[in-house]
């Protein structure tokens, strides 16, 4: 997929674990794993908003567009 989720990088910067982030944004660890491994087909604005609020970042810090080869 052309959209890459760079959640790992941001989580490392904020020194937050998957379990803690999942709990704070109100999703399951399994769903967070789907996001982190770029298996998700879509992300809700509400989820993105929660992630940005918890990680204190902008959507652009998490999502990146890369042209497909």
């Amino acid at each position: 997929m052309a959209i890459i989720v760079n959640l790992d990088v941001m989580m490392a910067k904020r020194k937050i674990s998957s379990g803690e982030l999942a709990e704070k944004i109100g999703i399951t660890q399994a769903n967070l794993s789907i996001l982190k491994t770029n298996k998700a087909r879509a992300i809700r604005f509400s989820t993105l908003e929660s992630i940005c609020r918890v990680l204190d970042c902008q959507p652009g810090d998490i999502l990146e567009y890369k042209e497909e080869e």
Binding site: L32, A42, R44
Partner: protein, 148 residues
């Protein structure tokens, strides 16, 4: 037990009953044909036509009932929108198409077969639409499951 689950189990029970009825009819078809021809005063040469058509349709009917049973079993297990159900619906539509073709061809010899042929063709069409609906539902379900 929920009403929808009860309904599916009732359908499964009816399917099993029809399987038994088809098996019994397959064994007793020569006698049934004989009874029909004598009691309804039909021409004697119709016996061969009816027997040939019914026995030609029998494998398709048996396979269709088997697919229907598998489909219902999947629904009972809670696996409704899965690829195997689309396959079962597709197979069911092909079995209906086979019966439709056989009976429409046999209509040349005995007119009432045209009614069965048309009905089977209509069922084939409904099943194909249903198959396409299931395929779309599977795609929507996958999309929904992967939306976080």
């Amino acid at each position: 037990m929920s009403a929808s689950r009860k309904s599916v189990q009732l359908t499964l029970l009816l399917t099993d009953f029809i399987i038994l009825a088809v098996a019994a009819a397959a064994v007793g078809l020569p006698w049934l044909t004989e009874w029909y021809i004598t009691s309804m005063k039909r021409p004697e040469d119709l016996r061969t036509v009816i027997l040939t058509v019914c026995y030609a349709c029998l494998p398709a009917a048996a396979a269709a009932l088997y697919s229907l049973r598998r489909l219902l079993k999947n629904i009972i297990k809670g696996e409704t929108f899965v690829k195997s159900n689309v396959r079962h619906l597709r197979l069911l539509s092909w079995y209906c198409a086979a019966v439709s073709l056989i009976t429409l061809a046999a209509g040349y010899f005995y007119l009432p077969f045209y009614i069965i042929g048309t009905a089977a063709g209509f069922f084939m069409l409904i099943l194909r639409v249903l198959k396409n609906v299931f395929r779309s539902a599977i795609e929507i379900k996958a999309e929904n499951e992967l939306t976080i």
